[in-house]
């Protein structure tokens, strides 16, 4: 559907009576059928050229609002998609219907004495981290996306971030969820099931089976998550210090081994990029001391609660990197990631502090790389460390075939060395208004996915629409069992249809 058609001739797929009913439940100001809104909520960061429009956008303010929306939708058999602040594919309303903007459901409730935080589904992850800092606490996975990234999406995808090397993915730290089902019921799992007791929310396994995991990677196909609980750890930013190492292109095996070694040493965070990622920083003169042959780039964040612990971690990283031939680059650590040892120099300078933490800040890689290239296409997948070289070279091969392995498209890797797997994001930067670019990026992703799907990759923000049905069918009987479960919970198949089934 063209935008001009959406603007002038669109026919609503939801009846005026349903719109009125939604308004009576949520308030008129929380329901929109304006074409500008329909258009804006159809956008997503990672898959901008695959646009599907909802018929109506609604904003809940309580978990019960979500339950009521679902009850109305279920009765009328209207598709429902829940969306956080960004959108990475799984929240594209493939069959139209009602889009729930979860970002108005954003309360944050911190229980410092139990080191637990309970958040509503649309709470900004950044806001939660900022609030936790007031108590010297953190949930030690810091997704690199912006302030719009919300807690429920971080759990569902499941997200990774700085800290994933030691702590895994966001779902690993979640100790309970509350879910609204199509029949209008709200169910609490894990620690949240214990919420009404005197002990309250404190432990993921409150007695009986634990169902929290059932709702991650299900892409809202069973219900919409309305609240989540996470465990926290003690944290101060003074406990962080960054390092940066590079490897040549011919050192790919050594680079992979070095990364895996750091993971085994339980370093707080190890991040992998290649030269395409750092080129804009070189072009803009942000880093001046980058060797011409530095192809693979490893950013490290150490986290130690005493100076001795921090120094020891730095030494471990140097020891590992020396063993495998990595070269340290202090300038790059300071200019691209954060302080090498905690000093307030960034706050005093005329640059944004902690550039790696502020994706589109004036001095951050996201802005720099965007303004030097264009819109993002990303793929996002987990695989075992031993396939590091094979997956990298698969991306390189496809990018070369398609004609995007060059400075015009900056086809970089942005990868998180997670505790249990290597999580790589491949990027292609393009102009979304250029038909030739669209054709190239389309060809890239059509060619990129089949091989890694076949090899058994696990995807972030999975949908069969984008990744292929094989990505789910590899699960065998479990996939069939999931369908039966879905038939029980969502008999009218209104929940995010077309994404997993």
């Amino acid at each position: 559907m063209s935008l001009k058609y959406l603007q002038s001739s669109r026919k609503l797929g939801v009846s005026p009576e349903i719109i009125e009913r939604l308004k009576s439940v949520l308030g008129e100001e929380n329901v929109s059928t304006d074409w500008t809104e329909i258009f804006m909520y159809a956008r997503s960061l990672a898959w901008p050229f695959l646009m599907k429009y909802p018929d109506v956008v609604v904003r809940p303010h309580t978990p019960m609002d979500v339950a009521q929306i679902l009850r109305i939708a279920n009765r009328e058999k209207i598709p429902v998609v829940a969306k956080g602040g960004i959108g990475e594919g799984a929240s594209v309303p493939l069959e139209g219907g009602i889009l729930i903007d979860l970002t108005t459901l954003n309360k944050i409730d911190i229980h410092p004495e139990d080191k637990v935080v309970v958040v509503e589904a649309g709470a900004s992850w950044h806001q939660m981290l900022a609030e936790l800092r007031k108590y010297d606490l953190t949930v030690p996975i810091w997704p690199t996306y912006e302030s719009a990234a919300v807690a429920s999406a971080a759990f569902v995808n499941p997200s990774h971030g700085y800290g994933s090397t030691r702590y895994g993915v966001v779902a690993d730290l979640c100790i309970g969820v509350e879910v609204a089902f199509p029949n209008g019921e709200l169910l609490r799992t894990g620690a949240l099931a214990n919420e009404e007791t005197e002990f309250g929310v404190f432990y993921r396994y409150p007695n009986g089976p634990e169902f929290t995991g059932l709702f991650t990677q299900i892409e809202s196909n069973l219900g919409v998550i309305t609240r989540l609980a996470f465990k926290t750890i003690d944290f101060k930013k003074e406990w962080l210090a960054c390092q940066y190492f590079t490897f040549r292109r011919d050192q790919i095996d050594e680079c992979g081994k070095a990364i895996f070694s750091l993971v085994r040493h339980e370093i707080f965070d190890v991040h992998f990029n290649d030269r395409w990622w750092v080129l804009p920083a070189i072009w803009e003169g942000v880093v001046k001391e980058m060797p011409e042959d530095a192809w693979f780039h490893i950013s490290i964040i150490n986290f130690g609660r005493t100076d001795a612990e921090l120094r020891a971690q730095e030494e471990i990283c140097r020891m590992v990197m020396n063993k495998y031939g990595g070269k340290e680059n202090i300038e790059a650590a300071e200019r691209l990631v954060g302080p090498t040892r905690w000093t307030p120099t960034y706050e005093k300078s005329n640059t944004e502090p902690w550039p790696a933490w502020n994706l589109v800040g004036h001095d951050s890689w996201g802005s720099r790389n965007t303004r030097n290239s264009g819109m993002w296409l990303t793929t996002s997948q987990h695989f075992p460390y031993r396939f590091f070289k094979e997956v990298y070279e698969h991306h390189e091969k496809i990018a070369k075939e398609v004609g995007i392995w060059n400075e015009r498209y900056l086809p970089w890797h942005d990868s998180f060395a997670c505790r249990d797997s290597f999580k790589t994001e491949t990027f292609v930067m393009y102009n979304p208004y250029d038909p030739e670019d669209l054709s190239k990026v389309g060809e890239y992703y059509i060619k990129f996915f089949p091989k890694i799907v076949k090899m058994g990759a696990s995807f972030h923000g999975l949908t069969i629409q984008f990744h292929g049905r094989e990505a789910m069918e590899k699960l065998g009987p479990l996939y069939e069992w999931m369908k039966k479960l879905r038939d029980q919970i969502d008999p009218n198949h209104i929940m995010n249809p077309g994404t997993l089934f």
Binding site: Q7, Q127, E352, G374
Partner: protein, 410 residues
């Protein structure tokens, strides 16, 4: 899109995914300008969680955000949408506060994101005429040269002060430019400023009839009128041999500094006061009340420059206020570069009055929250909006211009 529209957007095409240019980028829908969390949760200097963009803060819908404005402009540039009422409403709801220029770093160099929106508004204006609430302002300016349609001379505020006009040699080629709001609605502010400047021995003159800087027509879309006014403004400056101009309004300061900053010395009043504070401070009496200062967007963010981090006028007012004996100065939570737009600028006071009032009331709440009894301002248009809103609200706090405050302590 016609040729004229294309010409207007052409300087910004690098940020509109132009096809004839590489690199060319635009909004990537990262959500930082509408996300309900801070831009950088690890930075101590600010927390932009609850103020992202005036209309987005008010309406909460994404089409009322910088991302929305940017995307609509880009789609228009690529001929994928028509200008209709929804497009016009979204773009004219932008207060031109410039906070998006701070939050989003994609647009760099000499360009600003907020400027792209302003230019698209001019295109909408060409297609549809003035937006709701703006017609009267345009008509007033065309008829009388000022936004209120006043027929009196702009120098009416100076009656009895015996100030020279700028063509008089006593003026020392220096002009005090007060702007429409101060001249007609807040006469006590330019009077206090003039008395203060005279008390420090500064020689200056005033226009008998001030030429309009063109800020209003520029920001509400009438670029032809804005250029005509600026041409006249420049002629008047030249004709009167003005070498230095001291401006009271932050918006006027922004436009005049941008257009004439390389040709003559353009100063905001707080810069002049900061330069002269050593000669004033020994004469100041102690201040008993707790004060706070509100940074106008056009001093703290735009400040005559298109660069996001240079030429901000943020230290000068603080240097002045800290020189007051026994001062009990409390910063607002949203200050300096991250200041809270009070809803005066960009034509939203006329087009979206409820939203504009809401912003002012939020400022009062924040000021009261830090214990302030006086909100010190440094821009008469903003002060006027605050005073008018305060009149209708139950909040208890006083609004005073920085010159008024200083003069009251001498």
């Amino acid at each position: 899109m016609n040729e004229k529209d294309k010409r207007l957007l052409d300087p910004y095409r690098r940020w509109l995914y132009a096809l004839d240019l590489h690199p060319s980028s635009g909004c990537v829908a990262c959500g930082n300008c509408y996300g309900r969390g801070p831009a950088n949760w690890l930075a101590d200097e600010h927390n932009t969680a609850d103020w992202k963009c005036v209309p987005f803060d008010y309406y909460g819908w994404r089409s009322y955000s910088p991302s929305g404005f940017w995307e609509l402009t880009t789609k228009f540039y690529h001929d994928q949408i028509e200008i209709d009422n929804e497009v016009a409403t979204r773009l004219f709801s932008c207060a031109q506060c410039g906070l998006c220029d701070e939050i989003c770093g994609i647009v760099a160099g000499e360009n600003r994101l907020s400027e792209i929106f302003r230019v698209f508004r001019a295109i909408i204006y060409s297609a549809r005429g003035p937006y709701t609430g703006h017609k009267q302002i345009i008509e007033n300016i065309k008829a009388t040269g000022n936004i209120f349609g006043e027929t009196n001379s702009t120098s009416i505020w100076a009656e009895g002060l015996d100030l020279p006009f700028i063509n008089n040699e006593k003026s020392n080629n220096t002009c005090l430019y007060v702007g429409n709001e101060a001249a007609y609605r807040l006469k006590e502010v330019p009077r206090a400023t003039a008395e203060l400047l005279m008390s420090i021995g500064l020689k200056f003159g005033i226009f008998e009839k001030e030429p309009n800087s063109g800020y209003y027509p520029e920001v509400i879309g009438d670029l032809d009128l804005a250029s005509h006014l600026m041409r006249r403004f420049k002629e008047e400056i030249k004709r009167n041999g003005i070498k230095k101009i001291i401006v009271l309004g932050a918006q006027d300061y922004h436009v005049i500094k941008r257009e004439l900053g390389t040709e003559l010395n353009v100063l905001h009043i707080v810069e002049v006061l900061a330069e002269s504070i050593s000669s004033i401070k020994n004469r100041l009496k102690p201040l008993k009340q707790v004060i706070t200062y509100h940074d106008p967007c056009y001093l703290a963010r735009h400040a005559g420059s298109r660069r996001p981090r240079s030429m901000r006028v943020i230290n000068e007012p603080r240097a002045v206020l800290y020189s007051i004996p026994d001062v009990k100065f409390k910063e607002l939570p949203k200050n300096k570069r991250w200041t809270w737009c009070v809803g005066e600028c960009g034509g939203i006071k006329e087009a979206f009055p409820d939203m504009a009032k809401w912003r002012a009331i939020k400022l009062f709440e924040e000021a009261i929250g830090v214990g302030a009894e006086i909100i010190v301002t440094a821009s008469p248009p903003e002060q006027l909006h605050l005073i008018e809103t305060l009149r209708d609200s139950s909040k208890k706090v006083r609004i005073q211009d920085i010159s008024q405050l200083l003069l009251s302590l001498i």
